[in-house]
Symmetry: C2
Subunit: 139 residues, 2 copies
C-alpha cells in the first residue's frame, strides 16, 4: 500500500489540493475491497474521520475520476463503484450474487490492444476498453 505522504503526492501531482478529506478518501479506496460504493467508503472513513461529509466524498470521487485517479464502474442494478487500482483489468460480474471480481488477463489485453491498433473504427478514437464478463460465480 501507499503511505500518507505518497498519497499526498499523488493528489498534488494532479494539481489538486491535498486536503485531509481527499487523503482519507484515497486511503479508503485502497483499503476497502471489492470496488467500493460511496456507502462502503463512508463506513471506512467514518471510523477515523467521523466529520467528513458524504457530499464531500461524492465530490472528491468525481474529482478523482476527472483526474484519472479512480475509474468509475457500474453494473446493472447497483450504485456507482470506484476502482483505484488502475492496472489494466476486466471484471467478472454475477448480478444475482452481487459479485464483482477483478479479472486480470494480459493475453487478452494485449490482443485487444493490437486488434484495435490495426482495426480502425471510423470517427472514433479509443481511450479505454471496458469488458464486463457476465455470468455465474460458482460458489
Amino acid at each position: 500500500m501507499k503511505s500518507q505522504s505518497e498519497i499526498k503526492q499523488i493528489i498534488s501531482a494532479q494539481g489538486l489540493k491535498a486536503t485531509l478529506q481527499r487523503i482519507a478518501v484515497y486511503e479508503a479506496l485502497m483499503n476497502v475491497p471489492n470496488h467500493p460504493t460511496v456507502e462502503m467508503l463512508m463506513e471506512y472513513i467514518g471510523e477515523k474521520y467521523p466529520s467528513i461529509a458524504t457530499g464531500t466524498v461524492y465530490k472528491t470521487l468525481e474529482n478523482f475520476a476527472e483526474n484519472n485517479l479512480v475509474k468509475k464502474l457500474r453494473t446493472e442494478n447497483e450504485a456507482m463503484r470506484y476502482d483505484v487500482f488502475l492496472e489494466k483489468h476486466f471484471h467478472l460480474i454475477d448480478s444475482e450474487k452481487e459479485k464483482l471480481i477483478d479479472y486480470y488477463d494480459s493475453e487478452l489485453s494485449n490482443y485487444l490492444e493490437n486488434y484495435f491498433k490495426q482495426k480502425n473504427i471510423p470517427n472514433f478514437s479509443i481511450n479505454d476498453i471496458k469488458i464486463q464478463i457476465i455470468g455465474k460465480y460458482l460458489e
Copy 2:
C-alpha cells in the same frame, strides 16, 4: 420491424401475458433509436397510449430483462438504457458527448467466443460478454 401480432407472440413465448402495455413498450423499444431510457420510451408511448403509467413501463422493462427480451445497459453518468436488438454487438461510448453507438464486429465476437471456450475462468461460467469502448466520437 415487427407486426403487432409478431410482438404478441414474442411476449407470449416467454410465458408472459401479452397485454396492451407490454406490446406498447416493445413497440417503443423497436422504434426509439439509440438505446432509449425510460423517459424516451414514455415520450413515444405517450403519443399513442397516454394512459400507460411510468411505473408500468419500469415493471415491464424489468420483466423483459428477466425474460431476455431486452438487455439493460448503463454508462457512468446516465439513467438505465434498454436494448431490444439482441444480435451480438458492442458499444462505443463518448461520455462527454453523451453518445452511445452500436458497434458490430463479428471478427471480434468470434475471437472472444473461441478465446473463452479455451480459456477457462475458474469458478465462473460465462453468459455474456459486454464490451464498452470508451473514447471520443469525432465530428
